[in-house]
């Protein structure tokens, strides 16, 4: 059934409009700009043609099958009437984008219940209301203009937030900072909820990473069961909103008085192997690391730096986030003896090597020797935005070596001039996870290591 939402063969937009700028217009435009090649049926009692598509007066008048209906009607009452039409037509999937339902309380709640009743009776799956639906290459139902084409990536973002579907999607698509396949916002989740989507995307072979934002958990027991299964196969990054101690309940027992909503959600995250993100940036950042980097076998990290002080700071951060900085093997130490004034240690301070053979050459030879060391599972590379980095960045040396060695890295920026720094952030950032701070990079890598170790344990 979920397939009808994400891979429909025909789609009707109810509340379609011929006036540019109106919601009902933008959706038709978005669909026409996407890769969707099936039938598009705008529905509006007062128009004849929108963007070259023939307009129908109601769903029931559409000649062929309709896989998916998107409604953007101005009132809940009209939406309920449309649900009845959809039932008559035999539609099985509806996205209700309009607001004014349970989130408003009062009558809105009653209208939402009517929608649920019609859906149940007629075996219709409903996404929303109060949502912006789907953004993907195959189909866009979002009411926000998506100017560029969405990448056919390997990351899915799902959640209870219009920001996710619109704001983040435009950021990700425009800035190419995340290889997104699908963004799905399901609003009030009167029917389709996180469990349906987690299960669906868990079973899609072309989805490698799922990032999820929830403000309420519809069915935690089922979520635990499904997330456990999905997270064993692919990383599920989870940001939970409303995690406050205020969730603690009035209870007769000690156990009950301690159990807060936050503690239970955290327990579920640990138990299922999901990865907890603490803000929206992490939801993206972690997805970026997981979708671009191979999984490490352990948590032994090489810190690659040109400045001692930064190395010290990163070492401390690594310790805080459970990463180890092991010594390199005697073989590596011997091999690199000419490139270090004192025997190579970890953090690997490349300063002496740079003064001797230059930055580019150091990245080409000294860095990979240290990175290949069998004691090392992953690396944190600290870069600065200066003229001397320009050549290595242009030649994509780090990307090449990372690919060749096959271990994960994160790149952290500390100082530098914007003109050099931005190139690293923007250009290298398209291929590698580049972070604007040390702590964000180290934390993201620690999550990758944690997941890698968990997977190792599961397979052994």
């Amino acid at each position: 059934m979920m397939e009808l939402f994400f891979k429909p063969k025909s789609i009707a937009v109810i509340g379609a409009s011929g006036t540019p700028g109106k919601l009902g217009y933008v959706i038709i435009k978005n669909i026409s700009d996407s890769d969707f090649s099936g039938n598009v049926y705008p529905v509006n009692p007062k128009s004849d043609e929108i963007l070259g598509y023939k307009v129908y007066r109601s769903v029931t008048e559409i000649p062929g099958d309709v896989d998916l209906v998107v409604t953007v009607l101005p009132t809940p009452k009209l939406t309920v009437a449309t649900m009845e039409d959809c039932a008559k037509k035999g539609v099985k999937a509806v996205i209700i984008e309009s607001a004014g339902f349970a989130e408003m309380g009062g009558d809105g709640k009653l209208y939402q219940q009517q929608i649920v009743d019609i859906a149940k009776k007629n075996n219709i799956r409903v996404m929303g209301p109060n949502c912006s639906g789907i953004v993907s290459r195959d189909i866009v139902t979002s009411i926000y203009p998506i100017t560029k084409k969405v990448p056919k990536g390997n990351v899915v973002l799902i959640g209870q937030s219009g920001l996710l579907a619109a704001g983040m999607a435009s950021d990700l698509v425009e800035n190419e900072s995340l290889n997104v396949r699908n963004v799905c916002s399901f609003g009030n989740k009167c029917d389709v909820n996180e469990n349906d989507l987690l299960e669906y995307f868990g079973n899609q072979d072309d989805v490698d990473v799922i990032s999820m934002y929830l403000e309420t958990i519809s069915d935690g027991r089922n979520l635990t069961r499904i997330a456990k299964k999905v997270a064993a196969e692919k990383p599920v990054i989870f940001l939970s909103g409303g995690r406050t101690e205020a969730g603690a309940r009035a209870a007769m027992s000690h156990t009950g008085s301690i159990a807060s909503n936050a503690m239970i959600v955290e327990a579920a995250v640990k138990q299922t192997g999901m990865i907890m993100a603490d803000d929206f940036t992490e939801l993206k950042d972690f997805a970026r690391v997981f979708s671009t980097q191979p999984l490490p076998k352990g948590n032994r990290v090489a810190v690659i730096t040109l400045a001692g002080s930064v190395g010290v700071n990163v070492s401390d951060l690594c310790a805080n986030f459970g990463l180890e900085l092991p010594k390199l093997t005697p073989e590596t130490t011997e091999k690199l003896k000419d490139m270090f004034d004192t025997p190579v240690s970890n953090p690997v301070d490349l300063y002496f090597s740079v003064t001797k053979i230059g930055f580019t050459k150091t990245l080409e030879t000294t860095f990979p020797d240290a990175f290949r060391d069998p004691n090392i599972d992953a690396a944190v590379i600290i870069l600065a935005g200066f003229k001397y980095t320009e050549e290595a960045v242009q030649k994509k040396i780090i990307q090449k070596i990372v690919k060749e060695v096959g271990k994960p890295v994160v790149v952290c920026m500390v100082v530098g001039y914007n003109k050099y720094k931005n190139v690293i952030m923007d250009e290298m950032g398209k291929e590698l996870p580049v972070f604007p701070s040390l702590i964000s990079g180290v934390k993201a890598l620690s999550k990758l290591c944690e997941y890698g170790i968990r997977k190792q344990k599961m397979s052994s």
Binding site: I217, G220, S253, H254, T255, G256, I258, M263, A267
Partner: protein, 232 residues
């Protein structure tokens, strides 16, 4: 009477709170070791049970209406002979009748004094969304002030029980700190699995507290227990 009978009987009596004696019987049946706790309805019975169990003993008020037993003056510990038991029985009755005049009192629970050990708490609560969850933590002040506890969603696996006992901040206290005898951690993990299995297979339980549980080098004993059933 089996555990299920006890639950059934409480439901018929429109009770959601089980007595300590009932709670311990149910837990005992699923293989959780509780201190021997039996009901005495008269002073004579209290003495007879004390002599059978061996001094010292503990007397606790047994009433479905009195949940905060200590606050009502309903707990007397370390009673070493017949005279002390008789005196304690009278004091408990007087004090509880004064504190809770409407309470239906069935008698006193007589139990042997458990050998002290590191205190832990184990429990369960039903979350509206996640269903039953189990909790493990260090007992006493550590649970009340620091909330040093770990939760997992039922059903749990062995791996989860191992993580639960391993992730509390004060786990060093279980490993034997400053000459204290280490706790039988594997035994505690097994208890958590039994608790999870039980609540997973027994609908209608809202909350369980085993607090305190004394841990020993070998095994552990539930000293006080409480079970709350879901309201119909």
């Amino acid at each position: 009477m089996t555990g299920l009978d006890i639950i059934e009987k409480a439901r018929q009596e429109k009770r959601t709170i089980l007595t300590e004696i009932e709670a311990k019987q149910i837990l005992g049946e699923i293989g959780i070791n509780c201190t021997d706790t039996r009901l005495a309805t008269t002073k004579q019975e209290a003495v007879a049970l004390s002599e059978e169990m061996g001094y010292p003993v503990v007397l606790k008020i047994s009433s479905v209406d009195i949940t905060h037993k200590s606050d009502a003056g309903g707990v007397k510990v370390n009673l070493k002979d017949r005279a002390e038991v008789e005196k304690a029985f009278d004091e408990i009755m007087t004090s509880c009748r004064a504190a809770c005049p409407d309470a239906d009192i069935e008698g006193v629970a007589v139990q042997g004094m458990a050998k002290t050990g590191t205190e832990i708490i184990m429990g369960m609560i039903k979350d509206p969304s996640f269903g039953p969850v189990v909790m493990f933590g260090l007992g006493g002040v550590l649970v009340e002030v620091l909330k040093d506890v770990s939760f997992r969603i039922v059903p749990i696996e062995k791996k989860d029980a191992i993580e639960m006992t391993g992730e509390i901040q004060g786990k060093k206290l279980l490993e034997g700190y400053r000459g204290q005898e280490p706790a039988d951690i594997a035994y505690l993990q097994d208890m958590l699995l039994k608790l999870s299995d039980f609540v997973d297979n027994t609908p209608g339980i809202e909350e369980i507290d085993m607090n305190p549980v004394f841990t020993y080098k070998e095994g552990a004993a539930v000293v006080d227990a409480r079970i709350i059933l879901a309201a119909d």
